[in-house]
């Protein structure tokens, strides 16, 4: 038994020696064999379980060595455009505040190189008809699901949304096929109910959405809403024209492809949409279902923008509520633990991952995600003191 153990240890240390042989390469003359030899006393010592028979360390300095550290700053040629959501009375609208997004000059939270000007903004999803939502989301809106205006109000007052993201899903011909005119009335109601900036979304029907968004743009004249969204295969000109005529901005959506995003952005700029009226949604994959594609996509887009690519210098919208598409978020499962925590956490982690990759504006469903995004971005923007003593974490945790 003892013999066996020693053999194992000897083997482990020999492997270690071999590894060091590969690592210690600055000293070209120290090869594996020599190191193995070198370690023999150590093996003997270790098998006895005590004492240091290793050669003494080469140098034991009396004090810590000196070291200088300089910030590894880089220089950026480009900057992301700033987009304003919502218009106050002074600006011709009726919003109580405007929300500024974008304007980044350095990569997300590389604050040692400079502070980016705007905090991330959080929009909460409101729908124009009751729909199937995961229980953990639904329970917060049970009382308002029949009334979009009340839903928006609740999101603003109780859940502290910065922006309302109002989605006209009932216009889908496969659902209620609500007419663009009727849908526009609902937009009017929501704008009356809350004084926050508003995003208006369609149903995802490529033929009908441009007409729905055009009508919404009309009734929201002057409110500087964000029309969500256009893509390469929709009538984007119609939406851009409506945005220009009524003073709104537009979301350009592409499914996970930086080149298609560039192409769409170029098309929109070419038909006259000003750079400061364009927000891009390059797709947010849910945690566990492609989020890594979104991470790399957003990072590439933002770095390209900072390097000076004018076709990618737009603020980024992230539909973090896509997280609810992952079964790990909504599925009832004893093994995975209570979904009441797991669900909102799934959305929170999806949102934060996108935040760190460059997203500027979020669409979320759960109130907890709003709190998390605000809490973390407070810290990341250097707001608030830290009274935590982490130096002694080893003993401080229960």
């Amino acid at each position: 038994m003892v013999e066996h153990k020693r053999d194992d240890l000897t083997k482990a240390l020999l492997e270690l020696a071999e590894k060091l042989g590969q690592i210690e390469l600055e000293n070209v003359e120290v090869a594996v064999e020599e190191l193995t030899f070198h370690l023999q006393p150590a093996i003997a010592a270790a098998t006895r379980g005590r004492a240091a028979l290793l050669p003494p360390v080469e140098k034991v300095p009396d004090t810590l060595l000196e070291a200088e550290f300089s910030k590894p700053e880089e220089v950026y040629a480009g900057q992301v455009a700033e987009v304003v959501l919502g218009a106050t009375r002074a600006e011709g609208g009726t919003r109580s505040t405007e929300v500024r997004i974008g304007g980044a000059k350095v990569p997300p939270f590389y604050s040692f190189e400079g502070m980016n000007p705007n905090r991330p903004a959080v929009a909460m999803d409101v729908f124009d008809m009751p729909l199937t939502l995961p229980k953990m989301v639904r329970q917060h809106y049970e009382d308002v699901m029949d009334d979009p205006a009340a839903w928006a109000k609740k999101s603003a007052r109780e859940f502290n949304a910065d922006v309302i993201s109002f989605n006209l899903i009932s216009t889908d011909p496969g659902l209620k096929n609500t007419t663009p005119e009727d849908a526009a009335e609902l937009v009017r109601d929501v704008l009356k109910a809350v004084d926050l900036p508003v995003i208006v979304g369609g149903s995802g029907n490529k033929q009908k959405d441009p007409i729905v968004l055009e009508k919404a743009a009309e009734v929201a004249h002057g409110e500087r809403i964000l029309l969500n969204s256009v893509s390469t295969d929709t009538d984007y000109k119609r939406v851009v024209n409506a945005a220009l005529k009524h003073g709104h901005s537009v979301v350009a959506f592409t499914p996970m492809d930086i080149n298609n995003q560039k192409k769409l952005n170029r098309l929109l700029l070419d038909v006259g949409l000003p750079r400061d009226r364009l927000v891009i949604d390059p797709t947010t994959g849910a945690l566990g279902y492609g989020i890594e594609y979104s991470v790399s996509l957003l990072e590439r887009i933002r770095l390209a923008a900072l390097k000076g690519d004018p076709e990618l210098q737009m603020p980024i919208l992230s539909a973090a509520s896509n997280a609810w598409g992952a079964r790990e978020a909504w599925m009832k499962s004893e093994e995975l633990g209570p979904r009441e925590y797991r669900g909102p956490l799934w959305e929170s982690v999806t949102a934060l991952t996108m935040l760190m990759s460059g997203a500027d504006l979020f669409m979320v469903s759960h109130p907890a995600t709003v709190r998390v995004l605000k809490n973390v971005s407070d810290g990341l923007f250097g707001v608030g003191e830290t009274d935590q003593n982490i130096e002694n974490w080893i003993t401080a945790i229960e």
Partner: protein, 473 residues
């Protein structure tokens, strides 16, 4: 700073004989594999065997070593490698060595509680996209203040698990006592931590037992660099950096900046004194602020995720709640997949619900994201069906149609090889809406009727409800 490794600089250090013993076509392709880290220097037999290449081999190994050193934790089967990073962004190459997740164990707990906790950590597993996600290490905390107890617990934990160990104490005496337990030093526990006060003793201890050692210098990168430099001078190679982590307020901002500056110093500036893996402790979410365990676990989980996006090569966590660890291991899996490789799932025939011979037969690709989206939608909607998974070499529907991997002959072969005809009495195949143009060709080759389904898998349920029963009649 050393010269940046390129195809040519690497090629120059190879034998250039194109002997092919490595399995590559020639030395140039081997050079390319070395750069992509698909092969190592050892895979070139002449370099290893032939004495005349010896100096060259050593130079080459140094030349292609990643800017961030790799540190090996533990021994035996459950060895965990951390660091070894080559790039700032995963799209630049790929991230190597997934962030190791350690779970803490306090020496204030009773022996049974300790063993239970260790067992829970060791048993934690979650199967996702063809991989089993696990935890990687146990961090033993000297919380009691009693070095004897700490040593006892270190020994107990070492017996209870084969996972790598981290011994956490700032008291060098306690660390020594714990390391020198029989059954502990053999495991090469990582020592946490050397500080500007205890560095002399901790560095000597780490050197003596060849243990990886953490340099801990909260919010002071110059101090951290001095510490790492000193540990190195004293003969320690496997160093890990902890610049400190705070969960909120101004110091959260500094914490994230420090991580970014460390990694950029190593990778872009070639700062050898900071070219080590980084460890961070999201477990600090459990200090002070909140006493409600759910809140702390929730916070710790999203902060650990935040750290994963900011170069943490290892984290120490406190929560063992499945729901709190799940997002962290899932995010880690995603971020550490190789962006150069399309992710593919197994091809063939899958069953959802308990399909019978009149259940619908759907077709999708083996691109993991497509497949799991379809599977997810089908499951969520409670659809009962057969799903044929076509080998499109891991490409999505649209790109594989464009690239030709999604073709009628492939569908015919799939229908044959899966023997789906014996499982269904109808001959109707629902194909993705985007693949509509293959309808005729697939019909010709399979003699099945092809039905063009929805473009988005979220509409499968609605589509089948509307059309399927009518079709089958």
């Amino acid at each position: 700073m050393t010269e940046k490794a390129t195809l040519l600089t690497v090629y120059r250090l190879l034998p250039q004989t194109n002997c092919g013993e490595c399995g590559e076509v020639n030395c140039m392709t081997f050079a390319s594999s070395l750069l992509e880290r698909k092969k190592t220097v050892k895979d070139c037999p002449p370099l290893v065997k032939d004495v005349k290449y010896r100096v060259q081999a050593v130079k080459l190994a140094e030349h292609i070593a990643p800017p961030v050193r790799e540190v090996v934790l533990g021994t035996g089967d459950r060895v965990v490698k951390i660091g070894g990073k080559q790039v700032m962004y995963r799209h630049d190459l790929t991230y190597h060595n997934p962030t190791a997740i350690a779970v803490d164990v306090s020496d204030r707990l009773g022996d049974q509680e300790i063993v239970d906790r260790v067992n829970r950590a060791e048993r934690f597993q979650f199967a996702h996209i063809g991989e089993v996600l696990r935890l990687d290490a146990i961090a033993v905390r000297a919380a009691s203040g009693d070095p004897q107890r700490f040593a006892q617990v270190a020994s107990l934990v070492a017996k209870a698990t084969s996972l790598p160990l981290v011994l956490c104490s700032l008291d060098p005496g306690a660390l020594r006592l714990a390391v020198e337990q029989k059954g502990v030093y053999e495991r090469r526990p990582m020592l946490y931590a050397a500080t500007d006060e205890n560095w002399k003793d901790v560095a000597a201890l780490a050197k003596q037992y060849s243990c990886p050692v953490v340099a801990f210098s909260p919010n002071d990168l110059a101090g951290l660099k001095a510490l790492a430099k000193t540990l190195k001078t004293m003969g320690n190679e496997e160093i890990v950096l902890d610049p400190g982590f705070w969960t909120s307020g101004k110091l959260l901002k500094s914490s994230i900046e420090n991580l970014e500056m460390l990694r950029r110093s190593a990778i872009h500036r070639g700062d050898k004194d900071l070219a080590y893996p980084i460890i961070a402790v999201p477990a600090v979410a459990w200090i002070g602020e909140s006493t409600e365990p759910t809140t702390s676990a929730y916070k710790e989980s999203y902060l650990a995720s935040l750290l994963l996006t900011r170069f943490a090569d290892m984290v120490i966590m406190h929560s063992l709640d499945f729901w709190a660890l799940l997002p962290v291991v899932t995010l880690r899996q995603g971020i550490y997949t190789d962006p150069r490789k399309p992710v593919a799932v197994e091809t063939g025939l899958k069953a959802f619900g308990n399909p019978n011979e009149s259940s619908p037969v759907l077709l999708t690709t083996n691109f993991a994201l497509t497949y799991y989206t379809v599977a997810n939608d089908v499951e969520a909607a409670g659809v009962t069906c057969h799903l044929l998974v076509l080998n499109t070499e891991g490409l999505a529907v649209e790109s594989s149609l464009a690239g030709g991997q999604f073709n009628a002959a492939g569908v015919r072969d799939l229908v044959k090889s899966t023997d789906v005809e014996s499982k269904t009495k109808h001959r109707k195949l629902v194909i993705p809406g985007m693949a509509a143009r293959l309808k005729g060709e697939i019909e010709d080759l399979t003699k099945w009727e092809v039905v063009v389904g929805p473009r988005d898998s979220s509409e499968i349920k609605g589509y089948l409800d509307k059309y399927w029963s009518a079709k089958v009649q």
